[in-house]
């Protein structure tokens, strides 16, 4: 039986009669000058129409494509029945932050990639529907607080208020434990507040979710750097915490190590984005932390972080904002939607181009970027064609800012102050497996980017959920043997 005729799921893909509903967007020229949301979300009629494209598969592939196995046909059915609040609550059983994931998850590589409707046309817009129901819920009054179980008397510390830490905190408070989150920054949300810009993820959404947690009784301690103020050992031995979850992310930026990288006007993407998103440098003088206005800005890299940085540079008034990327467009790890948006807004792409030197003036400010043209070399043993420099292809681009977005790794502070915490060779915390999330130290669990390296919001939340289950088991049994078995 060919896959065309009938799939393993037993559904016959037909060409969908209703086209995939497009998402209304701000005009590209207008939005390149403001920090408001780029995409505007479905209207009710669009959501209902899009939901009707789902054929309610008996064995839905979309669920297996979702890292946290959301019952996708289940929530879409509720949208079709116009039960939007119920749909939102249904998703929340699996995913604490649907308004976030509906906006930033790479659905094109996950649920939508395997959606059966996509075999003969465009897949059901699962992410847009997820966002719609979450926004609908937010627009329809405060979400009532669920009833909490009696207190267990157990105390859990969560280090880091990113999506991983927030999920652990939610799941554990719902089980009756006392939960304290220690967050280094002055705002909770992790990358959701300091990294991803307002035009892609309005901060009010994250604030609302954080408030929901504090309303539930989670104690949020901001400006608390663990490893400086308290160590993990002190939390456990002196402060009475029965378990600790480490969700401190991977926020230490990498640099290129080319000459001139220490000139003024060279930023790590983390610094550049944090100054804008968290310190609101774009809103000077209302916020007293301005950033220098640059005319020609090069962002090095081709991931989501690079796209966010270059689009921020445009919005801060750059005349020319470039992506300088050593590989070809096909290799860019950024979401396709973000690359398309950047292009429509006027970002200039210099692909197959590698920076080799940042040039500066006598005052120590950036004036240019020397680059080399790259060519894809012969396939190596793995069949991959890697970029190699084209001899004599050096050229200089006039530039007054260079933003480096080529990756990050774990900040070593917690590991340095917790000597019995095992790390892998890349410096990430080693866990027993992704289900138990147990570290080498009794009572200490970890998940999210600090374990996997930079990944995605949904994976960090999935890890948080698994860790919460594992912490619950530990708190109930006190067992610390492989897989909880004696």
């Amino acid at each position: 039986m060919s896959e065309e005729k009938e799939t393993k799921a037993g559904e016959k893909p037909k060409k969908p009669k209703i086209p995939r509903q497009s998402m209304p967007e701000q005009d590209p020229h207008k939005r390149a000058g403001n920090f408001d949301s780029v995409t505007l979300g479905y209207k009710m009629e669009q959501a209902a129409l899009e939901a009707s494209r789902c054929i309610q598969c008996k064995k839905p592939f979309c669920i297996s494509g979702c890292p946290v196995s959301i019952d996708i046909p289940g929530f879409i059915k509720l949208v079709k029945e116009k039960e939007y609040l119920k749909a939102a609550q249904h998703i929340k059983k699996y995913n604490l932050l649907p308004a976030v994931c509906g906006r930033v998850c790479p659905q094109e590589d996950q649920c939508e990639k395997v959606c059966i409707v996509g075999k003969k046309g465009e897949p059901v817009a699962i992410g847009r529907l997820e966002r719609f129901v979450a926004d609908y819920e937010a627009a329809h009054g405060e979400v009532p607080l669920p009833e909490l179980p009696p207190k267990t008397g157990k105390k859990v510390a969560v280090v880091g208020a990113g999506p991983g830490g927030l999920t652990v905190a939610f799941d554990l408070i719902m089980l009756g434990h006392d939960v304290t989150i220690f967050e280094a920054l002055h705002k909770a949300g992790g990358v959701l507040v300091y990294g991803i810009p307002e035009f892609r993820l309005p901060k009010a959404i994250v604030e609302r979710e954080v408030q929901y947690l504090t309303r539930l009784g989670v104690d949020l301690k901001l400006n608390h750097v663990i490893g400086k103020i308290r160590t993990i050992d002190q939390l456990m031995k002196e402060d009475g915490f029965d378990a600790v979850f480490i969700g401190s992310g991977a926020g230490l930026p990498w640099f290129m190590d080319v000459p001139g990288e220490n000139l003024n006007g060279v930023y790590s993407a983390n610094e550049y984005l944090t100054r804008n998103n968290l310190m609101k440098s774009f809103d000077f003088p209302k916020h007293d932390t301005p950033i220098k206005k640059h005319k020609n800005v090069a962002v090095i890299g081709g991931g989501n972080v690079a796209m966010d940085s270059v689009r921020t540079a445009l919005r801060l008034g750059a005349d020319n904002a470039y992506i300088v990327y050593r590989r070809s467009r096909a290799e860019m790890p950024a979401r396709k939607e973000e690359v398309d948006h950047a292009e429509h807004e006027g970002v200039q792409f210099k692909n197959l181009t590698a920076p080799v030197r940042v040039i500066g003036n006598e005052q120590g400010w950036v004036t240019g970027l020397e680059c080399l043209k790259m060519d894809l070399g012969e396939p190596d043993a793995s069949g991959r064609r890697r970029p190699v420099p084209v001899k004599g292809s050096e050229f200089i681009m006039e530039m007054d800012a260079v933003i480096i977005a080529i990756g990050t790794s774990a900040n070593p502070l917690i590991a340095q102050t917790t000597p019995d915490l095992k790390l892998n060779k890349k410096g990430y915390i080693e866990v027993e497996n992704e289900t138990t999330c147990r570290t080498s130290k009794k009572g200490v669990f970890a998940g999210g980017d600090i374990v996997t390296g930079s990944a995605t919001v949904i994976l960090a939340m999935g890890a948080g959920r698994n860790a919460a289950k594992s912490i619950q088991q530990y708190l109930q049994t006190g067992e610390w043997t492989p897989n909880g078995k004696q």
Binding site: P333, V388, P389, A405, I406, P412, L423, K425
Partner: protein, 151 residues
């Protein structure tokens, strides 16, 4: 540097591999945390293998050596020099190792240009090719790591 015989050159190359092995072993010892320790230990092991290969090399086989084309990603060539610091990050450790291989390869390439005897030339080409292979292996590791980060 002057080399009188093929044996002399091999002896020198073995010393260089031993130096690299010791460098990585010492760096591994200085690392307080498991992450860097493991990486340096694995590099020290690699260098040990290279050293053994040279120790087992039969000088008679040098004449029959035909250089192969080894891809050069040139990832390290445009980077500034980097020195060992305790607690350095994984990408920095890779950069440090790539730079060392780049310099070793360059040294042997220079030697090729400075000797007349055919046998000596061949041996330096052989040594340069070995370093090129090590450089490629490290640069591939580095390139894979960086590609994931968006570089």
């Amino acid at each position: 540097m002057s080399f009188k015989s093929i044996k002399d050159i091999i002896k020198y190359a073995i010393e260089k591999e031993a130096e690299a092995m010791n460098f990585y072993t010492e760096a591994g010892k200085q690392e307080k945390y498991s992450a860097g320790k493991k990486t340096f230990e694995s590099f020290a092991n690699e260098e040990k293998k290279h050293k053994t290969m040279l120790e087992d090399l039969d000088p008679k086989n040098v004449a029959g050596f035909n250089p192969a084309r080894i891809a050069d990603l040139k990832r390290s060539d445009y980077m500034v020099d980097i020195t060992y610091k305790a607690g350095m990050s994984y990408p920095d450790i890779l950069r440090l190792a790539m730079k060392r291989e780049e310099k070793a390869k360059k040294f042997y390439d220079d030697c090729v240009g400075h000797v007349d005897a055919g046998g000596h030339k061949k041996l330096f080409q052989m040594l340069s090719q070995e370093e090129a292979k090590h450089k490629l292996a490290l640069e591939t590791l580095y390139d894979n790591l960086m590609a994931k980060g968006g570089d």
